[in-house]
Subunit: 268 residues, 2 copies
Amino acid sequence: MSADSLRNSTIPVRIATPMPELSPGAGNLVRLKTACSHCHLREVCLPVGLSREQITQLEQIVYTRRRLKKGETLYRAGDPFRSLYAIRSGFFKARAATPDGRDQVTGFQMAGELIGMDGISHDLHTCDSIALEDSEVCVVPFNMLEDLSIQAPALGHHFHKVMSREIVREHGVMLLLGSMRAEERLAAFLLNLSQRLAARGFSATEFVLRMTREEIGSHLGLKLETVSRAFSKFQDDGMITVKQKHVQILEMDRLRRLLSNGSRNLHE
Amino acid sequence: MSADSLRNSTIPVRIATPMPELSPGAGNLVRLKTACSHCHLREVCLPVGLSREQITQLEQIVYTRRRLKKGETLYRAGDPFRSLYAIRSGFFKARAATPDGRDQVTGFQMAGELIGMDGISHDLHTCDSIALEDSEVCVVPFNMLEDLSIQAPALGHHFHKVMSREIVREHGVMLLLGSMRAEERLAAFLLNLSQRLAARGFSATEFVLRMTREEIGSHLGLKLETVSRAFSKFQDDGMITVKQKHVQILEMDRLRRLLSNGSRNLHE
DNA sequence: GCATCGGGTTGATGCAGATCAGAAACCACC
DNA sequence: GGTGGTTTCTGATCTGCATCAACCCGATGC
């Protein structure tokens, strides 16, 4: 795969299934008979495990989409919470901030992932969600999702799993932030990205980062210079090639070993 | 309040409402007609926002309790997930581990809090939960909770809020781990503990830590020596008094300011 | 009484990563 | 093709916390 074909997307094209183009209405909200049942993400998104009939019900409530240009904000902390968003295409970062202005990227989200769950607790969003490339989300009104979950318990159950998975993911980030050294953090980050891309059918070894070194650093609790140095180190060691945002993993195993040997490095 | 009266509980006694003593059956599982409706934690636990009738329904499914001695494990990573647990009394730590043996305390939980939600995603628990003092939990079978949520949507909605609150809490820990210096972390920890105790009607300024310096350190991404030094520093500065596990906050405001000035200290 | 042990404190030293600084690469736009 | 702004890289220096080590304190047991 050429570097050129990667330039405009984190996600290398898998099979060239041209998506039906939408004629956007006024603004960036699109009303249309969305078909979860035909969406290529149905195996990774909300419909997982639902019957055909239940998916049809889901389509009843997921009837708007929203398009965002790179850099646009999907929601920000303090916004009233009404909907969750299923990412249809593109790439997002979530950013949380302390009252005194410190902030941190709490995660990066890609197609098929459900975001906005931070807002449920207080009916207000508690973090920002920002598109890192031109993106499209399906709007899932939360009260409708709850109502539908009563009629389709499988949906409710799946939703609980999605929330729980977010909690578990955050445990992983806490472990990373609390106990790993810089290179281990970057290795964990790259492996995680690779694995999630692979789960969507894309190359596990070659991809384009949509975020800056600074955003990676913010997520990993490092300064951008440290991230940059770690990238260079990995490249010098022959584990990866990096050319700006284009990353190729040459020796996945060594990356993994770097992680699993971490505790030995530290403790004895 | 004397130090003596605090020795055996993190939570200073509020009003001396003697709890009905249970005669434990065989083992540590107790079957009894639990009365959420009479529990002194009903304002802070699962029943929040439920009607009298709905609470009665909840009592139908919460019919066992489990007692744990200090140091006992409620569940561990890999255990099959069947139930959530509402803490009736006592104090717990949650601990997550990486495949290679690093671990971290992901949080401390006290009476009225619901734990075990990490297990929903894969039907297996993904972290350990360990009692830090003699404790008692109400067992909430998860499939029954889901079933009941269908009949009592307010319960389901509240449960979603509880899960979301856990996600938001973890964002806060990520911010702490990713961007705060040692003393700020400890200040944030103490303020958080204080605020949660106050929410339960206990003193916000005087309490007994149930965890060791090492456990605090593990949670905050610090070594125990650093935690100890920060405690000493706070005491030397006159913000708190520390005597072993007994902590008294003398100047809450200065603790808070230490936090809110943090970003200034760092960035300019 | 004394010995033991886990938890806590305090001091001395080392190092990973932050900070500061400058240059190069890249991009968007005229 | 030039220009200004952003992003990335690399080197030099600084520093906060980890690490190593010694000692103290309170609880428990004999």
